[in-house]
Amino acid sequence: MIKLLTNLDRRWIFLAMALCVAVPILVIGLTGKTIPETPTPLAEAFFNEIDTAGESKGRRGHVLLAFDYDPASAGELSPMAISLVHQCAQRGLRMYFMSLWPVGPQMIDESISKVIDRHYPELVYGEDYVNLGFKAGNEQVIKVMGIDLTTEFRTDTKGTPLQQIPMMKGMTSLEDFDLIAEISAGYPGTKEWVLYSATQYNIPMVSGMTGVQAPLMYPYYPGQLKGLLGAIKGAAEYESIVNVWVREQKFAEALVAGGMDEAKAQEVAAKLMDKPAQVSTWTESAEAADLDPKTKAELITIATAPIPGEFLEGQRRMGPQLFAHLLMVLLIILGNVVFFAQRRQGGRS
């Protein structure tokens, strides 16, 4: 057995890893079931920072969304970028997209297409969101943006001068943003934004990043970074928080539209979110007696409607993670067993 393990062709390990990743993808893809996520304080802090953006100034939050990644790391970062746009769109924040990576604009377009175009078509380009596109120059761009935004960005990606874009009115430098939300795959990325914007101008900043970067960025939390999402695990946690919150918001919106006052609607929505399976029963209770049948039907629809696939990307990828990590642990144990067995044999000889 030890001899077999010692001479094991590494390609069997590759095959085992491929199966550990592929089979859960197939099973999750066919059943639609994902592994439940318990959010950590880091993901909750990320969510809360976006949720309260602009509140200190008593205005609709102005969020700079810097997507500094490319397709090579989209598998890890795309889920968090999509959830970020999802939360901003649902919260009604003004979104200013930009990138310091040449392929970043394509990543921005993908997020806009998957979230805004499909689920929030009422949002208006130029009033609710704008794509400033790619700007070459790495950290120098951030530095210049801190002094004067229009020096770096004179038009958006469509070539429209910034003066003609309504939501750019009054935006002169980085300090006019309420929050910087960065999705980073490397250089330039989180570190540069922390050093040249969050620290120098005291602008609140949150960041989602690849697993490779995460351990190096933890020291910035909670000082310079107000929230942090590390790798696909952070993405899945954040995704689950946003999905639950969005459903709660939709419950509240339906209740308000049905005539309930806002404070009461929020309270009831939170209660319904605790047990979404019992919404149908609740609509027949005395508490829901004042609601019209249309609102009741809408509440049941919201409770039973499946979450769109694009908002479950991160959670779907946690299934393969589980089995791949189990395999890794098994291989590490086996490797150690083989090592100690060989050492013992060597000692005897």
Binding site: A136, L195, Q224, Q321
Partner: protein, 385 residues
């Protein structure tokens, strides 16, 4: 364990050949079931615009600027009826749609032909198979498999894919460098008229010469850029040392400020923390105590970790006695950090692998349908049932 470059035994070759053949056979069988796999559909939209001449707003009697409106809008139709010779431009736009939209269209047209009636398309235009995008999808699948094939052993498919990636990346960077750096940062500022004429027709020209003159200092980066290119000429290579010195000096100055403020001072400040901290969870007395213990322990561990790791990197004193013990604690902290970094890296790489396999199963093979792009019949569930 065997290296990938080592020769394989006959039995190993046979096993791997069987694995590859099984995969190929599965792909062929899958392609023949249902309505196929790996297709991309687009919706065609006719984007025709008519130019409205000035002063067309009769209602308000105001003089409006000439503007372009869609020919299928009410305003556009009315204007075209009145002015059949108006200036019209148009093009076709193709937007990618989910395959299920195509299936719905096909089913609707089949029903319509059965009932001998005509049915209008639901969207702005007809949905059709896009050959360029379908080929692109298959090329992406081929390159994904070609890169994966390296795990079996080095081979011509992998070499080809690797070379294409390197070549395309280099070409892409060059184009990006020209259009996103040289054109907007240099040509547009130095000679706006030239840029508008040849590169960026939509740009606005400076209103007056006074607005333009300050841009002349962009001659300095132009000269520095040309000096950098002189590196290609062996006899004039020394010219490039000047711009290089400028780049190194600028970056050093820029980074020094950033790192001192953002890393050095801020991290020292973040490390000076109280060893006792009240817990944030106050639901029950037990939880409060427990939370306080954890919060304080976290702070104590941070302080010990910072000091112990610093001692490990302090080589002016021999690591013996108390210093040696503290340095050993520092090593533990470093090892735990490296372990966490390794774990995160593994997680990241598996996520990337999962994304590629999802692409193969979903977009290419149509085995799963997490984003509900197709009908259930087209997914593997339908096939199994």
């Amino acid at each position: 364990m065997n290296a990938t470059s080592e020769p394989m035994t006959g039995s190993q070759r046979a096993i791997w050949a069987v694995v590859v053949l099984v995969i190929v056979a599965l792909v062929i069988v899958r392609s023949m079931i249902g309505t196929g796999m790996g297709r991309v559909y687009v919706e065609q939209e006719d984007m025709a615009f008519v130019q409205l001449a000035a002063s067309v707003d009769d209602a308000s009697e105001s003089v409006s600027e000439p503007k372009w409106v869609r020919t299928n809008s009410e305003q556009g139709k009315t204007y075209l009826d009145r002015n059949p010779d108006a200036n019209v431009i148009g093009w076709m736009e193709y937007t990618q749609v989910d395959p299920k939209a195509y299936f719905v269209q096909e089913a609707a047209s089949a029903n319509a032909s059965t009932a001998s009636t005509t049915t209008a398309a639901a969207g702005p235009g007809p949905i059709m198979l896009s050959w360029p995008r379908t080929i692109g999808l298959w090329v992406a699948a081929f390159f994904t498999l070609a890169i994966f094939s390296f795990l079996y052993r080095d081979n011509p498919f992998y070499k080809f894919a690797e070379s294409v990636v390197v070549g395309v990346s280099a070409g892409y960077w060059m184009v990006i460098g020209f259009w996103d750096v040289i054109v907007p940062n240099l040509i547009q500022r130095l000679n706006p008229w030239f840029s508008q004429q040849f590169f960026t027709p939509g740009m606005e020209l400076p209103a007056t010469m006074a607005d333009y003159w300050p841009n002349l200092y962009y001659l300095i980066p132009l000269i520095l850029g040309l000096m950098l290119i002189m590196r290609l000429v062996p006899k004039c290579g020394w010219f490039s040392l000047w711009p290089l010195a400028f780049i190194v000096g600028t970056m050093a100055g820029l980074r020094m400020v950033g790192y001192i403020e953002g890393d050095f001072l801020s991290q020292i400040k973040a490390s000076i923390i109280p060893l006792y901290e009240e817990g944030s969870v106050t639901t029950t007395p037990f939880r409060t105590v427990w939370s306080t213990i954890w919060a304080s322990l976290a702070n104590i561990l941070i302080v010990i970790g910072v000091l112990a790791t610093l001692v490990y990197f302090f080589f002016s004193i021999e690591h013996k006695g108390v210093v040696g013990g503290t340095a050993r604690v520092g090593i533990w902290y470093l090892m735990i950090t490296f372990g966490a970094a390794f774990g995160f890296t593994v997680m990241g790489r598996i996520a990337l692998l999962a994304a590629r396999i999802e692409f193969l199963f979903d977009d290419w093979l149509w085995l799963i349908d997490p984003n509900e792009q197709r009908t259930i019949v087209e997914s593997a569930v339908g096939l199994l049932m």
